[in-house]
Structures are given as C-alpha cells and as structure tokens.
C-alpha cells in the first residue's frame, strides 16, 4: 500500500479494522529470528536506542532477501558514514571489521557508545542502514505524525500533481497553494527537474519557487506546502463509468483490500443489459497495494497462468498463479499505464502483458517493485519493512527498476492537459474499435 493510497483513513483504521496481517513469506528459525511481524494494534513509540539499531541490523541480515549475498559490513559502513556526517567535529574512526556479523556489531556498538547516547543519532544510523539496501520496498516507519488540523481525505503539499519528463508539467490541481496561485493543468514547470521536490511531506514546510510557462506567458510563484481538503469523489479507489454507451471504463487508484471485487462489480453493473465492446482499466497513478488483489484483477482476464514469482537470492522461486475462481470478464481489455503505476500495479501490468490478456497504453511503469514489503516490529514499537523475497515477472524477468513498457507509447503532453484531453484513453478507445 503506497502512501498515496494509504493516506487518511488507513492509518487511523490500521489499529483495528483494516487488512489481516500479511503472511510472512519466510520464517527464520526461532534462534535466528530477532524480529517478528507486528501483532495487534500499534503501541506508543519508545526512544530509538543503539539496541534498536542492533535489532534492525540482525533483522535485516536474518530476513532480507538479498542478505545472504550481502557483505554485512556494508550496513555498518553506511551507518557509520551517516554518524560522521551528523557529527562533523567528532574524531571518529571505524574499528576494523572482519565480516563476522556478531563480532563486527560488538565493535561498532562499542565505538558508538563511546561517542554518543543521543537518540537522534541512533535514528540517523538506522535510517542510513535501511537506505544502504537501496531497495524501494525497504523502509523504516517511525515518528509518523499527522500535521495538526488534519482531516481524513486532506492532502499535504503544494496542491498539485505533476507528470511528464521533459518538460515537467501540472497534470492536476487539487487545492491548497496551487489553487490559490491559479495554477492550471498543462502549466509547464521550467526550473525543476526532480518531481520529488514538488512532493514535500509533512513536516517539510519549505516554500518552493516555481518558474512556470503557459503558452507564451512566463511567470514565477512561490508555493508553501500545507494541508488542503481534496475532492472526496476523486479519492475513491475504484471509479467507473460507461463511455459512449459501449465501453466500460474502470479506474483503480490502488490495490486496496477489496479493489478487485469492486472493479468486477463495476464492470458487471455497467455491462448489464447492453452490448459492450470492451473494458478500459485505468491504473495510471496506482501506487500498488495488495499483490492478492493485483492477481485477482488479472484473473478476470486470463486463467491458468503464472502472474509473478517470489524468489530467494539463489533463485528459488515460488510462482504465483492466477486465481481461477474469479470469473472471466470475456471482453477485450486495454490497460492505461504510466510512471505512477508502481509495485502491485506493475505486477498486474506485467502479467496482462506477458499473457496477452490485454493491451497496455501510456508510458512505462515506475519500476518500483523489488518485492512485497514484509513488516517487522522493532523493540521501540516502530516497524521496519522490506521484502523477504524478491519479485520477478511472469517469465522470471526482472521488473524492478525496469518497469513495464506499454504496447502503445502515448505520453501525456502539456497541450492535452491544458485542453482536458486524455490521449491515452482516446488511443484505448481506438484500439477497442479495431479489435
């Protein structure tokens, strides 16, 4: 579940009413298990100490999918590097490391304790170790705080979405500072290359200066991140409509726990009593979620196939099969994809493509699918999550970092955005026409 989808209610509900605990992919032997999946409602976070860093270090070495092929010293070096940056004046040197995880940890910890007992430095060290995995599904969740004055459904940030690569441009204005400043879809952002800079997260409240172009007009605005209400209708995870009375359009914004069934019900409802030519599934911006839901959605269009593999570092793979209890829709399918389609969304898209269950239209997917993140509870009641097995595609191909290329490349353009045109959807309708 990505932040985009999980925003709002999910966190509140997580304490008592969301998904059952995800199954553990691989359980370590009791002696070696230094961390376990969280059970029950989250508890109040305790200070992060060096002992928590130790637990996380051994947790990664015991459970992370790539750990058997890693040099454990890399984690300690990364942690130590971060320490030296946080304490530029301290006379720090890394003790000799032998490659023995326990002995090296003892040496590291002894050095650390000599330097500091500051809690924030334990956090810096742990964050650096997790970052050293360079894994898009590895994260340490701590100090997750809502902005004061938050209401369920609110957005935080500058108030707009961007798309495009060169140039980067506004794809949607949601509210907040962007709406106040009069930004419109199609406005080109000339001074920012990294879209990440346009997505500040609380508590980051630094104003961002934008140089904008609309047609021939150029101007600058300074936007300050903040909370803003969003249109609730746009937040529904599954949205559907009938196009021209003959094509069923279903947008799936994330693979939340009931997403596939909701999509199926939408399709059934819209096709009832009419002759429908096909289905467009719009998964643009779908940041992922449950692999089970992704598999079920594929299974409405193809049966008896492998949709993905979960593999150990030495390529022991378990294939994930379609769920053939799902009824086949039996209509031609076009899937709209883009660079916002990540994780479970790429699981879905790669399976559709590999088994010719439909055509993909749009732009290449995100390539953020290292493997399903499994949560582990640390003793300060924070959660460390990472894949215990990696994800490979239906043909055991690597999708992570590569993404899934569409059959038909239809990139969004500022002109289309300004005019409210959806070129990818138009292409999809053409494809369904000729099938």
């Amino acid at each position: 579940m990505t932040r985009a989808v999980a925003a709002g209610l999910l966190l509140l509900l997580a304490v008592s009413c969301t998904t059952p605990e995800p199954p553990r992919a691989q359980a370590g032997s009791p002696e070696s298990t230094t961390c376990a999946p969280p059970k029950g409602p989250p508890r109040e976070e305790a200070p992060t100490t060096i002992d928590v860093v130790e637990q996380a270090y051994f947790c990664i070495l015991d459970e992370y999918w790539r750990a058997p092929a890693m040099d454990p010293r890399d984690l300690l070096v990364a942690g130590f590097t971060a320490l030296t940056r946080a304490l530029p004046g301290a006379p720090l040197s890394l003790p000799p490391l032998t490659g023995d995880p326990r002995g090296d940890w003892a040496a590291f910890e002894a050095t650390y304790r000599k330097i500091t007992d500051r809690e924030d430095l334990a956090e810096v060290t742990l964050e650096a170790m997790v970052a050293a995995l360079d894994d898009n599904h590895a994260r340490w969740m701590h100090d997750v705080e809502r902005p004061p004055g938050y209401y369920d459904g609110d957005g935080y940030g500058l108030g707009f979405q961007v798309t495009g690569d060169d140039p980067l441009f506004v794809s949607a204005v949601e509210g907040g500072a962007a709406r106040k400043a009069g930004l419109r879809p199609g406005d080109v952002i000339e001074n920012v290359d990294d879209p990440g800079l346009l997505r500040p997260r609380y508590p980051d409240g630094q104003p961002v200066e934008l140089r904008l172009r609309r047609g021939d007009r150029r101007w600058s605005v300074t936007l300050t991140p903040g909370l803003y209400p969003r249109d609730l209708a746009t937040l529904q995870v599954v949205q559907s409509r009938l196009i021209d009375d003959e094509v069923v359009y279903v947008r799936v914004r994330g693979f939340s726990p009931d997403a596939a069934n909701r999509a199926f019900r939408a399709i059934d409802r819209l096709r009832a009593g009419r002759s429908v030519r096909g289905v467009v599934l719009d998964v643009r911006g779908n940041g992922g979620g449950s692999p089970v839901e992704a598999t079920r959605l594929v299974s409405a269009f193809v049966h008896g196939k492998v949709t993905s593999h979960l593999c150990t570092v030495d390529d022991q793979c378990e294939p994930g099969q379609t769920d053939d209890t799902v009824g086949l829709v039996g209509l031609p399918l076009v899937v709209l994809v883009d660079g916002g389609c990540a994780s479970a969304c790429e699981h879905f898209s790669s399976a559709v493509k590999a088994h010719a269950a439909g055509l993909l239209v749009g732009t290449r997917t995100a390539g953020l699918i290292s493997g399903p993140g499994e949560p582990f509870l640390l003793r300060d009641n924070t959660v460390l999550s990472f894949p215990t097995r990696r994800h490979l595609g239906p043909n055991r191909e690597i999708v992570d970092r590569i993404g899934v290329a569409p059959h038909h490349f239809v990139p969004p353009t500022p002109d289309d955005a300004a005019a409210g045109r959806d070129a990818a959807l138009a292409k999809a309708l053409t494809l369904l026409d000729t099938r």
Binding site: L13, V15, C17, P229, Q236
Partner: protein, 369 residues
C-alpha cells in the same frame, strides 16, 4: 470462538483501538439476551418509519436514484400498550452476525433479544427529540438500550439506519439492504464522506419528523448522539444543521470541519484510549474548536462497544468480557445516566450536578482536558 470474537471486535471497532479480549465457548446453548429495563417513569412505545429523500441519489447504491432511510422512533407512551417490539428481524440478525464473523450461535438469536418497547402504543404529549446514529456496519437497534431508557425519561428518540452502511436494513418493500459502503471503507476520505452523508440523512429526517409528528416533537429542543462514526456524525450534523442544539459522541474518531465559533454543547465519551493526547488526534483537534459547553469523559475499562448494546448481548453470542471491563449492567447505567444528564442540562435547562466533576458514584468516569 476466539477467532470469532476477534473478528467481531475488529469489525465493530472501526475508529478506535479495541483492546484484545478473551472468549470461550459457552458450555450451554446460548439464550437470547434481555436488555436492561428502562429506568424512567414512562412506558415506551416504538414504531418504524420509512422515509425517501427524492432530492438526492443514494451515495452507495449507484442504481438508486433516491435515498431510502428507515427511522425507528421510541417515545414516552401511556398504559395499555400493544405487543413487545422485535429487536431486529431474523434475517437482519443472520446478516449482522455473518457480517461480524460471529459463528456457533443460532443465526436468529439477535432477533429474539427481549426489549421493553411496545408497538401500536399511544404517543401522548410533546417532547424533546434525540437522534441516534449507530456505528459503522451496525444497525441502530444496537443502541436500543439507550433509546428505550431515554424514551422512558420523556424524550422522543429517532434512531436512523443509514442504508447500505450496515449489514442489514429492511427497506419499505421488504428487501434487505446490505453493507455496500463496506466495499470502500479503506478509501482515503471515507470517514469524511460517511459523516457528510449522515449529516444529510439527519437533516432530511428532521424535515420529515417535524412535518409528520408536530404533536409529538418539540422542534426547539433537538439533540443527537451516536457511537463510533455515528458519534462523529453527530458533530457533522450539528455543523451542517443549526436545528440540532447539542450532541454526544461515543468513542468515534471525528471527521467534520467545524464552523468558526461553534458554540453548541458537545460531549465526548471515550475509552481510555481516547484520552486527551492519545493516538487519535481528532478529538484534540475538535476540542480546541468547540467554543461552548463541553466535556471530555473517558470510562475506565471501557472498549469501543461499551456504550452500545453489545455488552448486554455478549452472553447470547457466547462471548465473555475481558477482566477489568465494567459489567454490562454497569456500562448501561453509566451510559444512560450521563446521556440523560447531558440532555436534561441542555434540552431541559435542568442543571445537573454530574457536570461539576468526577463523581464518587461513578469512579470509572474520568474528566479529561
């Protein structure tokens, strides 16, 4: 059975952490529950109204062009009343139990719950009105114990079943609406959407009741109370509708934006997890926006369902309360006493000593903030 209970608790506790509870299969076949007797002076009558709001489409059933609502009225009555009312229908019982993951009990057992209100009872006099809104997935009959008590004390109570937001609502044509809203309950903005819909439901219900029952209801004295998202809806409905003079929220995370200078009386009643500064920030946020009479109570040992009928239904469902939780009769007494004190204070202008601070008679009730 442990699993059953866990599922039941999880499904019932949609906005606050629910402490784990132990359960054991009951040794004898469970018998239907008998609710605590109403404590006021009036016998209680009850009737069901089916109302249709043609001005807006149903928010959950995309094929329904109008919003159908079922409203259960409980009211102070005279003597010589008719038959005892049903708690819910056998089909509603079956769907509610199935939705809650309860198993191993007769599916109709909730419909055999013994209540006190009678049907076809006369409705003498004009009284203040209290709207009740239940928790998500729950029919409003899960607030019957409170509703009957309030009616016996001289209030007309209108319990609203927000169609498609619970496991079973029998509509005017006999069809049983199930929980369509359950499909999307993990969507961002879901809670905000629900309380917005419920505020619209309640405004429509008030329009209809004031039109249809002018002899029964005093339109100048109206309050609303609810549990979980129903409690959050009380605040949302008050923000949207100035006719509602006062409100009570039992343990519900809140979602509505309050207008500036919102000064009507409001009462928060929560579990210890809902104490000031707890994990759910919504009450802290709203507390600062409430500019009128306000109190924030927490009840030691209470869980998310403690303010509903559930504690009284537990033995019928083969469930046992966790050690440390006040008994069902005690929870009913606390809930009824504080609600009545709130309503008597604000709808009847009768000052209540309970609001001065902690009471030695109710040591479980803590005053926060």
């Amino acid at each position: 059975m442990r699993r059953t209970l866990a599922v039941l608790i999880v499904l019932t506790a949609c906005s606050a952490p629910a402490p784990p509870r132990s359960a054991a299969p009951s040794p004898t076949p469970p018998r239907p529950a008998t609710l605590a007797a109403p404590t006021g002076e009036h016998p209680v009558g009850t009737t069901v109204l089916h109302l249709t709001d043609a001005s807006r489409p149903d928010p959950w059933n995309l094929d329904a062009g109008a919003r159908e609502l079922r409203v259960t009225l409980w009211y102070p009555s005279g003597r010589g009343a008719g038959e005892r009312a049903a708690y819910m229908s056998p089909r509603e019982s079956e769907l509610t139990l199935a939705g809650s993951g309860a198993a191993g009990v007769p599916p109709d057992i909730l419909s055999r719950t013994v209540v006190y209100a009678t049907t076809d009872a006369p409705a003498p006099g004009r009284h203040p009105l209290v709207v009740l809104s239940p928790g998500f997935t729950k029919p409003v009959s899960t607030l019957t114990s409170l509703a009957e008590d309030l009616a016996s004390r001289g209030y007309v109570v209108a319990g609203v079943d927000h169609t498609y937001e619970n496991y079973a609502t029998t509509l005017a044509d006999g069809a049983v609406a199930e929980c369509l809203a359950c499909d999307s309950d993990t969507d961002p903005g879901f809670g905000t959407g629900v309380v917005g819909n419920r505020a619209a439901d309640v405004s429509f219900v008030l329009d209809e009741l004031l039109k249809k029952k002018p002899a029964m209801i005093d339109p100048t004295r109206i309050a609303m109370a609810g549990q979980s998202i129903g409690g959050a809806s009380a605040l949302a409905a008050m923000a949207a509708d100035p006719r509602i003079d006062a409100g009570i929220n039992f343990d519900g995370t809140t979602y509505a934006r309050l207008p500036r200078g919102f000064a009507r009386p409001f009462l928060f009643v929560g579990t210890p997890q809902h104490a000031p500064g707890g994990r759910d920030h919504s009450w802290d946020r709203d507390w600062n926006l409430l500019k009128g009479w306000k109190r924030w109570l927490t009840v030691t040992g209470a869980d998310h369902q403690s303010f509903t009928d559930l504690p009284q239904l537990q033995s019928a469902l083969g469930l046992k309360p966790l050690a440390g939780t006040p008994g069902a009769a005690r929870l009913a007494e606390i809930t009824r006493t504080y609600v009545a004190a709130f309503l008597d204070e604000h709808l009847r202008s009768r000052p209540q000593p309970l609001w001065a601070g902690p009471s030695s008679r109710y040591p479980e009730v803590k005053f926060g903030s």
